[in-house]
Each structure stands twice: as structure tokens, then as C-alpha cells.
Symmetry: C2
Amino acid sequence: MTIPANAAEALSQLLGPRFSQSQADRDLHGQSETFHTAPPPDAVVWPLTTAEVSQVMAICQQHLIPVIGWGTGTSLEGHALAIHGGIVIDLMKMDRVLDIRSEDLQVSVQPGVTREALNTELRATGLFFPVDPGANASLGGMAATRASGTTAVRYGTMRDNVLALEVVLADGRIIRTGTRAAKSSAGYDLTGLFVGSEGTLGIITELTLRLHGQPEEVASAVCAFPNLEAAVECVTATIQSGIPMARIEFVDADAARAFNQASGSQMREQPHLMVEFNGSPVSVREDAEKFGELATDFGGQGFDWATTPEERAALWRMRHGAYRACLALRPGATAVVTDVCVPMSHLAAQVAAAAADIRAEGLVGPMVGHVGDGNFHSQLLVMPGDADELAAAKRVAGRMAERALSVGGTITGEHGVGIGKRPLMRAQHGDAVDVMAAIKAALDPQGIMNPGKVIPD
Amino acid sequence: MTIPANAAEALSQLLGPRFSQSQADRDLHGQSETFHTAPPPDAVVWPLTTAEVSQVMAICQQHLIPVIGWGTGTSLEGHALAIHGGIVIDLMKMDRVLDIRSEDLQVSVQPGVTREALNTELRATGLFFPVDPGANASLGGMAATRASGTTAVRYGTMRDNVLALEVVLADGRIIRTGTRAAKSSAGYDLTGLFVGSEGTLGIITELTLRLHGQPEEVASAVCAFPNLEAAVECVTATIQSGIPMARIEFVDADAARAFNQASGSQMREQPHLMVEFNGSPVSVREDAEKFGELATDFGGQGFDWATTPEERAALWRMRHGAYRACLALRPGATAVVTDVCVPMSHLAAQVAAAAADIRAEGLVGPMVGHVGDGNFHSQLLVMPGDADELAAAKRVAGRMAERALSVGGTITGEHGVGIGKRPLMRAQHGDAVDVMAAIKAALDPQGIMNPGKVIPD
């Protein structure tokens, strides 16, 4: 579609140069980090206030223009691609930390604040925001996709750490969900409904987040395992034993090779676990000892402790750089990224089956995972334009999803549905998809909020 | 209303004697634990299977008969009262623990399993289900009201501990929400939507719950404080310090007196905190010492440790019996129970203001609270038929709610809305109430699911 002239006029009057139909701006907001592609949106707006978002929505509703929210553009499932055209609302100019309430362990932020910016701002308070998807994503985007990452095993996902939202609905109405209380039983959990709704029900314009005390003591380590099964079984045993891991990440031999190549690390080209312990000096020592015993039982060796803050930062920077490091294993490649999450008792078998399938299809597909949650990723490297390779990668991804569903798992643990996982939604949810569609129709009767995402046809 | 003859015929054919219109059965399902009253329902059914619930719903939908779910009948807000007549679905015959998956720290249960029955069943596994609202409520009812209780400060509420549901919708369709994975980003959080929906969107017929390892070491204690402010400020300091309390409960002087009278305990008639620590022997000792120092700073004295499992059980039995113990302070009385929850930094002032208000109105209103969450209750004792006293109690409750809302808190931390809190919903949620109503209309277009609850007119 193209933007009707009177809509463009209204947006231009409202936003001045913060409404753009230039090719450059549109192209910048038509990118994706993965193999998903789509034509760029028809226009981009950069609101500064909730009132502006509301007015943009009212104009778009009037002209039935699709609206797509945009944060840092780091989605892996094509969430922010304008597949039906329309206007991208880039929220990155709404980037203020509004109110740090240290005594209540809470902060209110605008959606364009990134997680790193927030934690920089919080440094002096002794508090931090734990959810950590790797990318330095915007908090609005993280809420919209129900992101999690390396620390979810201890601190939960965005579902657990968003207390309240301000949301602009499809018709421009502004609502507030949730409260500043730690819990509430006052009616439907709208906060939980908007978290993970991927911009299909409304645009998040403010978030109230739970904060956590910076742990007194932190210890991180890397440990090699003789094979993939041993590493993953060690994770299952660790979680079942109740050791309160702050992080427990799986890295396969290919990913270790990618890390070495990208970061100059000297990991053995073997499966590894990267772990972190948080707490008091006494509890961290106790937890680390217990984990060490379990790791030894599973053949873990060569514990490499990151003792200084700098070493720890380097360790997790390396882990956070996994996506780009793995892409570099095959220069020029793009990726099909899988994201299944399964019950712990099935994790080792599922990871092993995925590895075997990747090998059988002759693909390069390093694997990493937030395995303390049962969540693991393979990054299937394909050359753009190689249809056979893309088809093989999609077959592997499809079988991983099928296997996950066969044991009661999910097709996506943290990346969200976007366009990539949409065809699998009915396989996972059955008729519950119709309930999702009914909610979508109730809140967005014209279907202008990020159309073509989440809900299958 | 009365049940149309052909509907009664269909229900009778389906359920035989498990469909009843007898006055005795109706009266049993028209009770409330508090001052809320309503005429009994027109009929009661006791389904044994999800399929039966589905068929009951289909019949009720066809004849536009209101349907109200029923568990143990321990709601404090009149949730299960048939205020528009109709049929109560008593789910207590669906009481099987279906599948304990110890390795995944999960269990699947039918909705009529009570929390105590579940924990009895789990005893041999080393696992337990932590959510503990005091009453031995059904797990279906606890999910429907988003219950929490004494352990939420450590283990979260039903929102955090329900992983998946089976739900029968208004038209009889059966859906499954959620998965067996620890987390999921696959579309709208329907599990979270049905948890806390109080039977207004569907009937929960199966729950998958998170389990937790029984802690290696448990220590409980009671400690007296010179006044209410000191006790509550000690709680705020404790939470802010990050000590991972398993329980931290406030009891005022009146409630202590009620405990002494009901349980033969010998508490001083002063405000108290009742606390519990869970963990390894080392961490419990460390946590208890840190808390002891804080308590001493706030004038806490007379630490009374419950060291044996029997003593601990007696301590928490006493706490769980608070509602009846407090009622017994005034024989013949019924109660208006308040349930506000506020941000920690406002807790002491809000508790003190409530106490002053109760005194000023000349009411007896012992206070207890899950203060680690910022949640506290006053139990305003009123004599049935004394309209002035009831009006005074409602004034006090109304002002507590207003004060909670003025600091961003909630009108109900854990009891739910029912009919009691319904008039306050718009004050708390503003236009977000219309979004709740739109969802309700989308999922229950005929309005037969527990009508007159949660959503205000």
C-alpha cells in the first residue's frame, strides 16, 4: 500500500520531520537479522510521547494503515517486517528512564530504553534489571516478544519482570495495566496479555519493571565436557538438585570454535557449560562446590573461573556475541535460528536428536542454549539464494519443533512467533489459537496492529 | 431464574444423580464465608470428566443458563454466589492427581484436588507445591482467583506456578493453554489470562503446576515488636536487603490475642512477625542471622524458634487458622475482609493508617498480612443485621482501597474481585476495564460464565 495523501499530511503536521517516507528511512526499517525478508514499510514515524503514539494510531485506524512497532530491530523471527506495508513506529526516541524507585525495587521506563542503558543508569543504586537476551534490545521490544535469555533460569523472563504497562490501543486509547504492588488479583492479567503479544494488540509506551539487588558475590566459570549428552545431562541434574544457578548455558563444539575465532578465546572444541553463581560469599561457594561435584560426575573438566569483573564481562560478552560469531563461521551466510524449549527430562535426547539431524542434512548449525530452562538454539547457516540449503534448514527446524511438541514443549522459548513460527501455531496450540484470534479481533477489529504476525490465517 | 424443563432433562440424562435441584444441595452451594449473601443457585452438577463439563456448558449455552464454578467454597469475595441464578458446577469430584513428573518438577491435576491433598501425594517425591492461601482450597479455585498466601514472597503466586491449563469455554469447546516447557514465547499468554479470571471466561478442568524441591533445612520463628510501625518497617528493610525469606507474616496485637484464645499459644499481645527460612543448613543459618540483626535493630525481641517439624506445623496451623480465630474474638460476628497490596515503601504508613481508621470507627478489626509482598488484611468484625456497623466497616475498607490506589497499589492482592471488589475496578484500572470487558465479550458473548463478577457494569 501507499500512505493516503491526507494521512501523510496529518502525520506530517503532527510530527514534522519525525514522519518520513524517504527510501533510506524505509530501508533502515525493513531489515531483519535473519533470512526473513520483506519490502520496506511505506513510512516511518518517531514519536516522542505517548500522546503522539496515540495520535498516530488514531490516524492509522482512520485510514486502515498497518502499524508495526520497532525497537532495535534485533528480532530473529521477522516481527517488525512490514509484510502488509504500512507505518513503522520507531520507539527509540522514547528512551527515558522515568522513575527509579529503589526502595520498591522498581523502575518505570519508556520503551526505547535498552537493557544496557537501563543497567548503566542503575549502577549506583545497587540494583539491576536481570533479563538478558544477548542483544542490547529495547525494553519495549523485549516485553513485546516476552524475551528472556541467560538469566531466566534464576530471575525469570519478561513475563515475570514486567509489573505494569502503559499501552496505546489500535484506536488510540491509552490504558494502564498492572500496578506497583508485588502482586494483584484484581481482574484479568492484561500486563501478561500484552507481554508477548508482539505489537499485535497495542503499542507499549511505558513499562514498570521489577529490579533485583546486585548480588554481593558473583562467580562464573566455563567447563568442558566429553560430549554433548554429558553436558546436557549435567544441566538436568543441576536443575533437579535445586542449586540456584544464576546462569547455566550450553555451547556445542562448533560454537566453541566460533567463539575462539571471534574472541580469541582458547576453548577446547568440545561441548561446554558456561555457569554463573550469585549470592553471598558463603552461598556462592556452597553452590559452586555442589555444581563442581555434579560436573565431575558427568566428566566435566578444565574448570576455568572468571574471577574478576573484567573476566566475567569478557566471558558473557563472548556468549552474547554468539550469533555473530557463529555467522562468521561461514562468511556471507545468513541463519535459520531455532528456539525450541522442552521439559528438562527430555532435554538431552532432544539436543542429541537435533545435532544428529543437522549432521544428516549436511548443514553447519552450531548450537547454544539456555539449557537451565530447557531452551536451546541451533543456528543453521545457509547461503542467501541457495534454495536447497534453505529448504534443508527449514526441514531440520521443522523436525525440531515437531519433536519439542511431541514431549509437551514449545516451538519458541524466547524469540517469539513473528512470521517465522506462525505456521506452527496451530500445531502447538490447537483450538486455543481461535481464542487468541478472538482476543485479537476484540482489541484490533480492523486488524491494523502488526498484521500477519503471531495468529495464523 | 429456574432451569428450563428440557435443560433439566438433558442434564439429568447426562449426569443422573450428579445433577440436583434439591433445596439442600442448592443451599450448600449458596454459602459464603463472609458477609456476602445471595439466593442459592437453581441447580448443582458434579461432573467427573472434562467431557461432562463440556456437555454441561453446551447445554447451558443453548439455554442461556448462568454457570458458576465451585471448589471448596472458601472465597472471601462472594465469587461463587449465584447472584443471577443458574447452575453451580461443583468440581470437587474431579479430584485426581493425574501425573507427577518429578524429573520436570511438574504435576498435572484435576481442579478438585486441594493443596493439602496434593502435598500429601507429593510427600515421597521430595517435592512440594508451595502456594498456600491458608484455607485448604482446591487448586482449580486457587488458579481461578490467582491465590497466593504466606509463601508468595519466595515462591510466587498461582500466576507464577501454573504452567498450563485445560479450559472448557462458554460454548463447550475444550482448549489447552501453555506447555510443559519452563517458558514459552509462542503467542498470547492464555494461561495467565485464565488464571485470575474467576470463572468468567471458562471452567478450568486440568492444571499443570510447577513443583519445588522440599528445602533441605527449614527454620521458623515468631518475634514480638514494640509497635506496629516497627514490625512493618522491619519487613521493608528485610525485603530491601534481599534476604530470601520463605515466609514473613505480620500479626497485630488483636490477632495475637485471637491466636492465644484459639490455639492456647502464649504470644504477647503485641505486633509480631512470623518468619520462615528455607535452604541449605548453611544458608538458613546465614539468612536467620541477618534477619535477627535487622529485627533487633527494629526492637524485635523474644525470638521463639520452632525447631521441630511438629512445632513448625503448629505455628503455621495457627496462622492458617487466623480467619476463624479472629471471628471468635466476637462470637456470632461475620467479617468484611480487606486485601490491599501496596509497594513496600508505603507499607508501614498504610498499615498504620488502616489501624488508626479502624480505631476511629470504633470497630474490632484484627490485622494480619503477607507483608513481604506488601499485602495485608484487616478482618472487620460486624454483627449480622447491624447495618451501621456494616456501613462503618465498608467505609474503612473503602478508604483502605483508596489509600492503596493513591500509591499505585491494588484493591486486592490475592482474594480476587468477586462481587466485593467489583465496584472498585474502574477506580483501579480506568479504561483498561473496557479491555477486560471486550475480552469477556469475545470469549463469552452470551455472558453466561459467572455473570456479575469481576467486570463492573
